[in-house]
């Protein structure tokens, strides 16, 4: 393979691709992780199968159930972070996710469940309006 006439070109392409992917993914991760918390409210929403089933604005502990009233998980909210304890699914990925702040989410694919902070409406976010024309 090292005898290939374009071996050096292939290595150059490999290195370029590696740094391109690592830099793009790394920068996007940092933007997603740290750059968007200002776009979220303190309200926690729980979506199951694409539909919003719960909405919490105050700290507390709640049992999350699907539309058939089947238990899925127990959600905790301390006013700043959300996390879940106990789950009906064998993977328990939602439990392993740990504590999540604004901008993060807890996802359970088997139960088609997403727990996340509600995004600000465009009208709530003053910094999204540059000019009012009326």
């Amino acid at each position: 393979m090292n005898d290939s006439p374009n071996y050096k070109a292939k290595i150059r392409h490999d290195v370029t691709l590696f740094f391109l992917v690592v830099l793009t993914a790394g920068i996007t991760f940092l933007v997603v992780r740290f750059g968007k918390t200002m776009n979220f409210t303190d309200t926690v929403i729980v979506r199951i199968d694409g539909e919003m089933r719960y909405q919490f604005s105050q700290p507390g502990v709640w049992e999350i159930r699907n539309s058939q009233r089947q238990y899925i998980t127990t959600l905790h909210y301390d006013g700043n972070q959300i996390w879940v304890t106990d789950s009906n699914c064998p993977d328990r990925i939602c439990e392993k996710t740990g504590r999540v702040k604004q901008g993060g989410n807890i996802i359970c694919v088997p139960n088609k469940m997403i727990i996340e902070f509600k995004k600000k409406d465009r009208t709530e976010s003053s910094d999204t309006t540059d000019v009012q024309t009326w």
Binding site: T28, V32, R47, G104
Partner: protein, 160 residues
Amino acid sequence: MVTLGVMVAISSVVYALEGLIPFPVPGGKWGFSNFLVLYLSFFSGITNGIILAVSKSLLGSILSGTILTPGFFMGFLGSLAAAILQGAVAKLDIFGLSGISIIGMLANNIVQFLVGSFLIGSPAIYTLLPLVIFLGSFSALANAYLAKQTEKVFESLEER
């Protein structure tokens, strides 16, 4: 055929065991079981790569007890996409083993997240994609190294 069978066995066991290795993204894996899919796609062609990708996903998920779960479909289709794309790009003779491995990692993760977002009916899962791709770039290099070492083993066996 015997070689392919051994590869299916090795990658299935790695597939089942690598779930025990901690990964920063909940539910994620490093993807080290893909090094033999990469090896076959690169050195042997798309067909053998696809056979191994399908076999190791089925056998590995049976061993780990995750067969036909949503996670299985994500991994199965991701691995299949990686095998097809790796084999196709290898024929273009533009990238080396590392580049092909990174392309396979991208195909694998993007397809997995597409399937995941379809299953949960939301794009929220994509927030994890940049971190998975960032970490996957390093395991792609590891897989390229392992595939290269596998080639050396087979070369030395042929010389005997």
